[in-house]
């Protein structure tokens, strides 16, 4: 009888363990009905030191040869829900087996190779220039997406966490005796335009700290799997509130406009594209950088 540490207390059980020290890996504790895991690697250690018993391979072969018969005997004997479960399991196994066999058969039969024609055909004058960076794939993928109308409103982050005002702003106490509290400091990352000058201290209701201002974002194109660091042009929409949009607050889920002119994209009319929308995917105030995904939904 196998017993695990569930009954370790008590001298009687200790004596019992001394007699039968090695519980097998597959054995189940008869007391707590939990699989018993061997403590430490003593089995492997023993095999390393003394080797296996001489008829080990023979016994293994016989056991596997007998396995089918045993399984059949069990299957014939079982009734009720247990039989149902077992049959479902064996049926799944059989399907898997047949699939594997079929795959092996197909491997041996010669077939017309249809996959040999590589994708992305190029004219001869571009064939040797494959290494040149081709941001054009970006706009192609965008156009493909545009065709699929269903994808029109799919944004990388469809839902955003609501941010309460007291998390967004910190109240600053002002006045000689610090009794006034009309001043707020934005505690999230912000984008402040190029020509912005702060208002006089008396007038400035919202303070956007310099340490949380950002000018560039790491923009990923999900289909191209490439990331570019691009200058931010503006905050298009902060889903939390239009006031945050106005303040240029960038929280997770905010749509920003980035400058893609260095990627060399063009419209169908043959004009250069320079602004594109992207959605912020991280919490910039925690990470110290802005990560965003190019956003097809706001293309139009």
């Amino acid at each position: 009888m196998d017993i695990c540490s569930c009954r370790m207390e008590g001298s009687e059980s200790r004596a019992l363990r001394r007699q039968k020290p090695a519980l097998n890996r597959t054995s189940i504790c008869s007391v707590c009905v939990e699989p018993v895991m061997p403590q430490n690697e003593y089995i492997e250690e023993a095999i390393k030191r003394h080797g296996r018993r001489l008829d080990h391979e023979e016994r293994k072969r016989k056991r596997t040869a007998r396995e089918a018969h045993k399984a059949s005997a069990v299957a014939q004997k079982l009734v009720g829900i247990k039989a149902k479960i077992l049959h479902a399991k064996r049926h799944a196994q059989k399907v898997q087996l047949k699939k594997t066999l079929k795959a092996h058969d197909e491997r041996n039969v010669k077939q017309a190779d249809t996959s040999a024609i590589p994708e992305g055909a190029l004219p001869t004058y571009l064939l040797d220039r494959e290494g040149q960076q081709d941001a054009k794939a970006l706009s192609t993928a965008v156009k493909q997406k545009r065709k699929e109308k269903a994808a029109k409103y799919a944004v990388p982050l469809p839902k955003v966490r609501g941010i309460a005002e007291d998390e967004m702003f910190k109240v600053l106490k002002t006045g000689k005796s610090k009794s006034k509290s009309w001043k707020r400091m934005v505690t999230k990352a912000t984008f402040v335009g190029e020509g912005f000058t702060r208002k006089p201290v008396k007038m400035e209701r919202f303070v956007r700290p310099m340490a949380l201002r950002y000018k560039r974002a790491n923009v990923t194109h999900p289909d191209l799997k490439a990331t570019f660091q691009l200058p931010i042009i503006g905050v298009k929409k902060n889903p939390q509130s239009p006031m945050y949009t106005q303040l240029g607050v960038m929280t997770k889920g905010t749509v920003i406009e980035v400058n893609v002119s260095e990627l060399g994209l063009v419209t169908t009319g043959g004009k250069a594209v320079w602004g594109k929308f992207a959605q912020v995917t991280n919490n910039p105030e925690n990470d110290g950088c802005i990560n965003a995904d190019i956003n097809h939904a706001h293309e139009l």
Binding site: I117, L122, Y125, L127, K136, S139, T140, V266, G269, A272
Partner: protein, 525 residues
């Protein structure tokens, strides 16, 4: 008794104002008299004595005068008139500006009133006259049809010599034939096992050759759309370009040459379907092959350009190297001959007459070839990744060493040159570059003429209209643009493709373009 006078009536106010403004209109100026000397552009000879004209003499009047001076009163020829700017006006400060002024209305408006102030009415104006074709191609303005069918990017397009059929090759391993009268698909040519990279028409429209990424060349019958035999196998890598033997040398069974990435060029006989000889010698990919009509015995020569920085000239009779031109510093990617157009269209001129026999076709093609080479020998322009082009007169000028020297080096592109093409009359050459612009050069001297700017991405291909008056370019920025060669500005923008345009061709007044968006577009007037 002083009474206030009532204010004048409104109508009267207006009347008074108009009376004040009337003298502001400029007085009629009498145009100054100028001395004009007509010079023929071909031979730089004077057409006749200098004439004294009013400066606002119209272009049509100039044309009549020039025709009279050159003794062609009975059959007047349309002329293009231009005045060359002096060197001082085209110095570094104005680099990129055109070097000549084209007269489109009158000398007063186009030359004397030019902002550079290079000419005054006291000068003797040397007006260069270049005869133009008697027919005129109407510039395309609209997309007449968008033909879907190809399952992958369209990599090459070529009109047949008569312009009745169009062949396109695509990344879906098929080539397609389109009927241009109805603008409908006519045949699908399936057989290649890789992308179809190049299509080339025999100049008598009896056969079509296609070359694929699988290293095979296939010959097709365009009437039935059936293959003529199996593939011509031999190349170990993909085919980069194809060239047919000119009709004026072999009207019966022209051979076809194919250049390949595997550093060789093979010349195939379409009768025996065997490779007659293999031109080995290049040490890197051969990018382009052209079959010219010149050569020592006028029996045709093959020009090949390769990534090993050399251009080689081969004798088409025995496949021996005639010259090796090693002036480029980087891959040579494109070649153009000033006879390209007549070699490509063979016996068919703009009248569209069908030759009845091989002999007649040969005679017609020879006459057309000689009309081009009468004034200038066969010229070659090679464009390279070193941002320059060289103009060669390979068999025209004898040199002491026996090795031809380039007649001109055409510099100005700021990135690699992607394509170069001679106008059908050989007077102009245009080159397209990865620096988003096209440059126009004088086709005989290689002098810089103008830059055509307007594309916002690399320009991939260009094509000339049959009358040499229009130039069309295809670019990565998904547009096709038609350029005006009078003002050197954009004539018509043809947007419509949704992705890069890889190929463009121009025949009669139809333009065809195809690209990555898998559709063929036909543009018409």
């Amino acid at each position: 008794m002083a009474t206030l006078l009532p204010p004048p009536k409104r109508a009267k106010i207006y009347h008074e104002n108009s009376q004040i403004q009337a003298p502001l209109t400029p007085p009629v100026q009498s145009a100054p008299m100028i001395v004009v000397q007509f010079v023929s552009e071909d031979e730089e000879t004077l057409l006749g004595p200098a004439v004294n004209l009013p400066a606002d003499f119209s272009r049509e009047g100039l044309e009549a005068l020039a025709n009279k001076q050159s003794g062609q009163e009975d059959e007047p020829v349309p002329f293009q008139f231009h005045v060359r700017l002096p060197e001082s006006a085209t110095d570094d400060k104005h680099s990129g500006a055109p070097t000549r002024l084209v007269v489109s209305t009158s000398l007063l408006q186009d030359v004397l009133a030019h902002p550079s102030k290079a000419f005054t009415p006291e000068d003797v104006l040397k007006v260069y006259c270049s005869p133009q074709s008697v027919f005129r191609v109407r510039p395309a303005t609209r997309c007449s049809s968008t033909l879907a069918g190809h399952g992958a990017s369209i990599l090459c397009a070529a009109f047949s010599p008569t312009g009745r059929l169009l062949a396109t090759g695509s990344g879906d391993t098929t080539a397609r034939l389109w009927d241009l009268n109805t603008e409908l698909p006519s045949h699908t040519l399936a057989g290649h096992k890789g992308w179809v990279l190049c299509v080339e028409w025999e100049a008598r429209e009896r056969k079509l050759a296609t070359g694929g990424h699988d290293g095979q060349v296939r010959i097709w019958d365009p009437k039935s759309g059936k293959p003529l035999g199996d593939a011509l196998k031999g190349h170990t890598k993909w085919i980069t370009s194809l060239a047919w033997e000119p009709i004026h040398i072999n009207a019966k069974n022209p051979r076809v040459a194919s250049s390949s990435k595997d550093n060789t060029v093979r010349v195939w006989s379409t009768v025996t379907r065997l490779s007659e000889f293999v031109l080995g010698g290049h040490t890197a990919s051969v990018n382009i092959v052209r079959w010219g009509g010149g050569g020592p015995g006028k029996n045709g020569v093959l020009y090949t350009a390769s990534s090993d920085r050399s251009v080689r000239v081969w004798d088409a009779d025995n496949g021996k190297v005639v010259y090796i031109l090693k002036d480029h510093a980087h891959w040579v990617t494109t070649l153009a001959l000033n006879t390209d157009f007549v070699l490509r269209t063979g016996p068919y001129d703009h009248m569209g007459k069908e030759p009845t026999s091989d002999e007649e076709a040969l005679a017609l093609a020879l006459a057309r070839y000689e009309s081009i080479t009468a004034s200038t020998p066969e010229l070659l322009i090679s464009g390279s990744d070193d941002h320059t082009l060289f103009l060669w007169s390979v068999f025209g000028v004898e040199t002491a060493t026996g090795q031809p020297k380039p007649s001109a080096r055409l510099t100005g592109h700021q990135r690699q040159v992607s394509h170069v093409g001679f106008s059908p009359d050989g007077r102009w050459a245009a080159s397209a570059g990865f620096d988003n612009c096209l440059r126009v050069w004088d086709g005989r001297t290689g002098k810089y003429v103008a830059t055509l700017r307007g594309h916002v991405a690399p320009v991939y291909r260009l094509a000339w209209s049959a009358d040499s008056r229009l130039l069309v370019s295809a670019s990565k920025d998904s547009t096709v643009k038609i350029w005006n060669l009078k003002t050197y500005k954009l004539h018509t923008d043809l947007p419509g493709h949704s992705d890069e345009v890889y190929c463009v061709d121009f025949v009669a007044d139809k333009i065809v373009s195809g690209g990555r968006d898998q559709t063929v577009k036909i543009w018409k007037n």
